[in-house]
Symmetry: C2
Subunit: 252 residues, 2 copies
Amino acid sequence: MIKIVLLGAGNVATHLYNAFKNASNVEVVQWYNRNKKTIERYKNEVNITDTVSDLVEADVYIVAISDDAIQELCTTLPFEKRLVVHTSGSASLYDIDMKHFRGVFYPLQTFSKDVDLDFTTVPICIETLRKQDFKLLEILGQSLGCKTFKVNPKQRPALHLAAVFVNNFTNQIYRIAHEITEKQGAEFDILKPLITETARKVQEVSPYLAQTEPAKRNDKKTIKRHLKLLDNEEHKDIYKLLTSSIKNTHGR
Amino acid sequence: MIKIVLLGAGNVATHLYNAFKNASNVEVVQWYNRNKKTIERYKNEVNITDTVSDLVEADVYIVAISDDAIQELCTTLPFEKRLVVHTSGSASLYDIDMKHFRGVFYPLQTFSKDVDLDFTTVPICIETLRKQDFKLLEILGQSLGCKTFKVNPKQRPALHLAAVFVNNFTNQIYRIAHEITEKQGAEFDILKPLITETARKVQEVSPYLAQTEPAKRNDKKTIKRHLKLLDNEEHKDIYKLLTSSIKNTHGR
């Protein structure tokens, strides 16, 4: 049984808590948040606290809080030589005080407060300094049914940056499409199967191979017509820049 | 039984042929392509031809060829007052010669040559001048198991433009993410569940609501770090522009 103390109460922490609750060889022995009220409703199923000096012993302390707060909280933890990990894609492992055994347990997925998520589909990126810590975090990830990946200090920030592209930027692209259709009173719903298929295709072939002909062909007539349809200057710029990017990728 | 003559042999035509073949109340009575070789392998199951003067009678002539070629082919069709439709998202209905009853049967999806597709998920956008033509095309779409949508001459090009965003541009965003991860020897595979989840989320909530906090927060420290990680100037520009677009959408 792996004993965990969870610190933080945001989206990632809450999703992790629910996932750990259902894992057979893991026990969340305590849940800390600086504001106890946020986790008050869990008090009948887990020991909750808002006081670092009350933290109990555990195999892993999982710090799932905002990047900027990691350093400070880790310094105040009233123990040393225990495994403390954060869950951030971009914060350094060294943000954790050196008195601890340090690691990162980064679930690379988008977590929404009220959207249920099949946690078994979440890849866990693991970074540690000691081999035995990696092993433990690997078992922890696997106990959630997740695939685990060993990453180094350069790979994790790159993955986090790439995640911003495929999640936040893609979502903004969807948003612009929504604005374009809405303006003409066309249903955004019509685009949903295309959104699904575009995401599905790159599960099997590379994005390079998945790109379709017309875009690669860089047809000037279509581009001109599209730019005329766009009345938002920023959308025009995005259209031009991504069209140019496709052209550069496909070399025409 | 709706009798169809299919004209063209590209991705859309081929996918349509295969879909019609499996529909119970539709018969492809002839398949035309200017280069007969391309469809030679279907000759045992359907009447094929490369000669417009040999075209047989049908309820609908579906012209699934490149936008630039529609006008010319439709003019040469040796009959009049029959329903002729093209499948383009951007070509005008008026590209079809006025001697025909004209329409558009636009399947809004990404078609790859060798990727099988569940055609029942493809939305069909229909534009016609006459009510009875709309009815027939609607039945045709439904016979493929598709959802059909009545669109007007302003909505279809808007949908086509929006489709370029959610398909080609999104795919290019995936490509950039691929380059970012590859550069550090990180596995692109790690991003695939996030790609799936990002596409899945907007099936249920609007892209506006689906956007996650950190991106909306427009955290300057993270942005600075990300821009430092990007060494491709165009990728930097795309990052800046989409970050600004998110900021404008979410008003911070």
